[in-house]
């Protein structure tokens, strides 16, 4: 009797917490839309496609920022994924036992460094190195759009490197947990069939595929919303280019840069609409990753029991 009423209370109390999350998400969407009404009304869909950001003339288009956010995150993902997976595989499968703890601890330590510190490191250490590399780029390579542009040091490439370093600990620690949770029966079965170490690891990775994709997507969420470190090294010019050398801009960076001094109403609403776009894009990317995870799960119905992370935090 008593026990069941306790359970009910427990259920109600814990039920409040997820409701809070839902309420906050809806509240954010509502407030962002409400406070960007002026700009939504004035520009409509052109806000998504406009390339001009001119606070003086009152013309606002967000495409360069959308491009910069997506492109830098994608590049960061391409750079960080192999490194993060390598770390995870080494720690969980190959590392000597005494190294496991310290290595895991060190990678997680990377996640604890404030982003402004990454930014300063980027400005003072990484940027001069990247500039030197850019100066040494041979002319024939500079004809490739990816490597064209002036040797400034700051730009898309530097931002992508910083971002990938920031993303690695997130992806690798989740991927490590996934690999740790692969039942040893899987590996033993592989060895029993005469698999080599590498082949056994491949089996383990295949088994944990869903979770590993989740880990990568968690990193993507982090990269999309990162502000301070990126704005310090990306060069902050609203340019759409595939070049790694050219300065570009991201959505989070433009909000952080311009919000404090934006006194004009339309300007303020345009900046908040950028926030709304970032919110929408983050949700969209997360939904996409859900779909991806879901589709790999469908293909491997036998591994439904696998401990894929059920909820990734929505990085805003």
């Amino acid at each position: 009797m008593r026990r069941s009423s306790d359970d009910r209370l427990f259920r109600i109390v814990t039920g409040i917490f997820p409701m809070l999350v839902l309420l906050i998400a809806v509240g954010i969407a509502f407030e962002l839309s409400r406070q960007s009404m002026l700009s939504i009304r004035k520009f409509g869909f052109e806000f998504w496609t406009g390339r001009t950001w001119d606070p003086v003339a009152g013309v606002f288009g967000g495409l360069p920022f959308i491009w910069g956010t997506l492109y830098s995150s994608l590049l960061a993902l391409i750079l960080s994924t192999p490194i993060a997976l390598g770390i995870a595989i080494f720690i969980s499968e190959l590392s000597p036992r005494f190294l496991r703890q310290p290595l895991g601890y060190l990678t997680e330590l990377l996640a604890a460094i404030p982003s402004i510190v990454y930014g300063l490191w980027g400005v003072f250490v990484l940027t001069p190195i990247v500039r030197k590399l850019e100066l040494f780029t041979p002319d024939w390579l500079k004809k490739v759009p990816l490597f064209s542009g002036p040797p400034l040091g700051v730009g898309m490439g530097t931002a992508a490197i910083i971002l990938s370093i920031m993303v690695v600990p997130f992806t690798s620690s989740v991927a490590r947990e996934i690999l740790k949770n692969v039942p040893s029966a899987q590996r033993e079965a592989a060895y029993a069939l005469g698999a080599t170490r590498w082949e056994a690891i491949k089996v383990a990775i295949g088994y944990g595929k869903t979770g590993i994709i989740g880990a990568i997507m968690l990193g993507l969420g982090r990269a999309l919303g990162e502000t301070m470190a990126v704005t310090m090294v990306i060069g902050n010019a609203p340019v759409i280019s595939t070049s790694l050398f050219k300065p570009q801009y991201t959505m989070a960076a433009v909000i952080a840069n311009e919000f404090t001094e934006a006194a004009d109403e339309l300007y303020l609403h345009a900046l908040i609409e950028i926030g709304l776009l970032l919110f929408i894009i983050t949700i969209f990317v997360n939904a996409l990753s859900r779909l991806l995870i879901w589709s790999t799960q469908q293909r491997r119905t036998s591994v439904f029991a696998l401990t894929a992370p059920e909820e990734e935090p929505v990085a805003a």
Binding site: S5, T52, D54, A57, P128, L152, N257, T260, E261, A263
Partner: protein
């Protein structure tokens, strides 16, 4: 289980109860008055010093200043969540109309913006206004361009690409610099204009003075603009700029004060004036006031009286604190005008 939950609730209630009413019993004989202000970041060091000194002289008066940016200051002033505001850019007519009552501007100190560059082995370079505008429009692409050589005949200019560095964050510095360039170059005015953030046609953006200075320092051939204080404190080489009288003037606290003195004759009664390109032989042309904002008819008369008294002190004794902190003090002409204008605040 249940009991602990209720105990928790009771505890919560108890906490709320003790927190809710202010501790009324032990009020001191003379109560402390707090005045809140918010706005520009540029004058924050001197305002902090002033408010702390004023507090030492009047221990019961505590002024809190939040340096959240000029835009935020104007917004909070309009929303009446702070008693006074501060801005590096005068409020526009539109913004004034949006406020619930008339707002008065009072210049407090002066600042200036200097062109900083990274070109090795040249004497201090000179820049004319139109030349600076063309550089920041991306029209002058090499350091040995004839336009630069013309005003720097003695310098051996290298065949080096010009890299433009600008502020990426919204800032009064942007406004002052663009305001000057807009005055001297019609093309700049039409293409870029002046505001706390503008649409730069070329270049890279650095965050804050330190971001711009860092990029300039690291990039051979770079040119940017930083606040005079920042350039002086960090020994950053900067160029002389030609003023409205045709003189090439090096930025210094004196030449900045001279700009305000030169513009004093044309200062409108509301002080909403740009003093860039001021007409005076010794004036440094990229100078500006920074303002404090007050309501003309404030509801809270007690706080208004205190702030008027504070302003009188800041405009006289307070000005002596400006130079050590790198701000140019106001010229006498402007101070006299302001002392009269303080009378407009209805107490």
């Amino acid at each position: 289980m249940r009991r602990t939950f209720f105990a928790f609730l009771v505890l919560l209630a108890a906490c709320a109860k003790t927190e809710a009413p202010p501790a009324g019993g032990s009020a001191p004989a003379s109560k402390t008055i707090t005045i809140n202000g918010a706005g520009a970041t540029f004058p924050n060091p001197i305002y902090s010093k002033w408010f702390s000194d004023y507090n030492k002289a009047h221990p019961n008066i505590q002024v809190n200043y939040q340096s959240i940016g000029s835009g935020g200051g104007i917004k909070q002033m309009t929303a009446q969540t702070v008693f006074f505001g501060a801005s590096d850019m005068p409020m526009t007519d539109e913004q004034l109309k949006a406020a619930p009552g008339p707002i008065l501007h009072f210049p407090t100190v002066l600042g200036a913006v200097v062109p900083a560059y990274n070109v090795a082995n040249v004497p201090p370079l000179k820049f004319s206004g139109p030349l600076l505008a063309d550089i920041f429009l991306g029209k002058v692409k090499k350091w040995n361009d004839p336009a630069i050589a013309k005003v720097n005949p003695s310098a051996k200019l290298p065949n080096l690409d010009v890299t433009v560095v600008h502020r990426s964050d919204g800032s009064g510095t942007n406004f002052i610099f663009c305001d000057f360039l807009s005055k001297v170059s019609p093309v700049f005015k039409q293409q870029v204009g002046a505001s706390t953030s503008v649409n730069w046609p070329v270049g890279v953006g650095g965050k804050g003075n330190e971001g711009v200075a860092g990029l300039v320092k690291q990039t051979p051939g770079a040119i940017g603009y930083v606040e005079l204080i920042y350039a002086l404190q960090n020994d950053i080489p900067f160029g002389d700029v030609q003023n409205a009288d045709g003189q090439f003037v090096r930025a210094s606290l004196d030449s900045v004060t001279a700009a305000a003195a030169g513009a004093a004759a044309n200062t409108p009664p509301d002080f909403r004036v740009s003093i860039t390109n001021a007409p005076s032989k010794t004036a440094y042309p990229i100078s500006s006031f920074t303002w404090m904002l007050f309501y003309q008819n404030p509801k809270d008369k007690e706080r208004a009286r205190i702030m008027v008294d504070f302003m009188k002190w800041a405009l006289t004794d307070g000005q002596k604190e400006a130079p050590p902190l790198g701000y140019a003090p106001l010229p006498k002409e402007v101070i006299n005008l302001e002392m009269q204008a303080l009378g407009k605040i209805q107490l």
